[in-house]
């Protein structure tokens, strides 16, 4: 595809919807992703994403818009995680989530496999296909992005403080349980949005990678919180355009571009990730 064709593509409504939806989700996911990275909970987004595939499957089975069933299931999982329902288990949370993750995903895949005629849609939920979103899905993404933006802006300091250290937050007067609930619900909303763009399998490409890229050079939290969404938006637009030009699946291309920038950032950084602590 040449530049003329790309210009033509930009005038097409489906491509405009894809870019607009992608930009919203990328920016929001990167901002929330900074908190996930600070919490050292990179697994959390992945676990939520894999679980919501069952929500998609239930939507297809019950013939309800899968976006809505996915959203409902994500919010339920968010509440369960926020209330630390697994705290009675002897297993650490990341161990438990890692072990339950394939089960949750397998359940979704099996349900979809049992519904005649929907197997072909499985790939688009696994790896995303933002190019196919309609006006209704775009409006859902707009509402979702707006909700996450307003909530995360309103509680920005509390969310960051709890992400840094819960004891520090509590003794600073922050209502930690409330902020934990808000964080997990915001994460659930973000994951649902990100699944539209990069699919269940590649959610961390939007959630974790931009925050990690910024972390390679940022010296302050402000830099990280501002630049992670900017990088995510640039990566997403580039990925969507490249996938359209080369006729490749959008989600994986966005993830590849993000991964490429991360490798470059690590290579160029004068002080690559400061693994050691004094």
């Amino acid at each position: 595809m040449d530049t003329t064709s790309l210009s033509l593509l930009l005038t097409l409504p489906f491509f405009q919807r894809a870019v607009l939806g992608g930009v919203i989700i990328a920016a929001v996911a990167a901002y929330v992703g900074v908190q996930v990275v600070i919490r050292r909970s990179s697994f959390l987004g992945d676990a939520l994403a894999h679980t919501v595939l069952t929500g998609v499957a239930l939507g297809l089975w019950w013939q309800i818009n899968p976006f809505l069933t996915m959203l409902a299931l994500a919010l339920i999982i968010g509440v369960i995680l926020a209330n630390n329902q697994f705290s009675n288990s002897k297993l650490p949370l990341d161990n438990l989530l890692g072990a339950l993750l394939p089960t949750a995903m397998a359940l979704g895949i099996v349900i979809i496999a049992l519904i005649p005629g929907y197997q072909s849609q499985l790939l688009s939920y696994l790896f995303g296909n933002i190019l196919t979103i309609g006006s209704l899905e775009l409006s859902y993404l707009l509402v979702l992005g707006l909700a996450v933006s307003v909530i995360t802006y309103w509680y920005r300091r509390q969310l960051i403080l709890v992400a840094i250290d819960k004891d520090m937050a509590q003794t600073s007067g922050v209502a930690v349980k409330k902020i934990e609930l808000i964080f997990h619900l915001v994460l659930a909303l973000t994951v649902v949005g990100a699944v539209q763009l990069v699919g269940v399998v590649l959610v961390n490409a939007l959630l974790i990678v931009p925050a990690t890229i910024t972390r390679t050079f940022a010296r302050s939290l402000k830099t990280m919180l501002v630049l992670a969404p900017v990088i995510a938006v640039i990566v997403t637009i580039s990925g969507i355009a490249l996938s359209a030009i080369k006729n490749l699946p959008t989600g994986p291309v966005v993830a590849l571009v993000a991964g490429g920038v991360l490798v470059l950032a690590i290579a160029l950084s004068s002080r690559p990730l400061r693994w050691s602590s004094r």
Partner: protein, 237 residues
């Protein structure tokens, strides 16, 4: 003398209330406006007691701050733990950490006021020049001082510190304890701290609590830092 903290029948157990006991039937009335030092051997429950006071772990019994629940008065309390669990490789500056800790503090609503408070607190603990430094570039001693500034930046009525001298050289240790003494004298602040160092306790404490899973003794230095209590606490002869 007024009481800053009163603990009534406080029991703390591993695995929450009902598990094996760590602290047994703690009853204390800590005086206001002085330095209270909690001493005891390893595993005696000193840090656990601090965490229970701050409601950072579950306990049975009652803890009150000026006859009110502690959790309603966090903005009047400063806290320096033995160690926070945060990731020091996070790109966050000293200023950002301190301003975040003022999030729920209604005492510093104006941004310029907050900046002034932060600068003043950092200068007081001797690290004023580090305000824009990332935490990852601080030494252990510098970080400890920054965290002490965090504990006093909102000008609390009570400061609780768990081994404030850890990671700090002798000179820094003296600076910190002298500052704490000044805070109690000039600002009528109350200080409750845990230490292993009996010399520091003898030098700076106004009130001492000897703890070994239960209160062995509590009172002024003469009443606690004596051979009888030390023998009971550490097995000295």
């Amino acid at each position: 003398m007024k009481t800053v903290l009163s603990l009534t029948n406080v029991n703390v157990s591993y695995n929450g209330v009902g598990g094996s006991p760590v602290l047994h039937d703690i009853n204390l009335k800590l005086p206001t406006g002085v330095i209270t030092v909690i001493i005891g051997p390893n595993g005696s429950g000193k840090s656990t007691l601090i965490k229970a006071i701050l409601k950072l772990l579950p306990y049975s019994g009652r803890v009150q701050f000026f006859n009110q629940p502690v959790e309603a008065n966090y903005h009047h309390i400063g806290y320096l733990p033995q160690r926070f669990s945060f990731d020091r490789t996070i790109p966050i500056t000293v200023y950002e950490l301190l301003i975040l800790s003022l999030t729920e503090c209604d005492c510093a609503a104006v941004t310029t006021d907050r900046r002034e408070r932060i600068t003043k607190a950092l200068v007081e603990v001797g690290v004023g020049s580090l305000i824009n430094q990332p935490l990852s570039e601080l030494s252990g001693g510098q970080l400890q001082r920054v965290l002490l500034a965090k504990a006093i930046v909102h000008e609390p009525r009570l400061v609780i510190l768990d081994e404030p001298e850890s990671g700090i050289d002798q000179k820094g240790e003296k600076t910190i304890y002298t500052l704490l003494k000044e805070l109690t004298q000039a600002k009528k602040m109350s200080v409750v701290l845990v230490t292993h160092d009996l010399d520091l306790a003898a030098q700076y404490a106004d009130y001492v609590v000897a703890l070994d899973r239960k209160v062995i003794a509590a009172g002024n230095k003469a009443a606690v830092l004596n051979k009888k209590v030390m023998a009971q606490l550490y097995g000295y002869h």
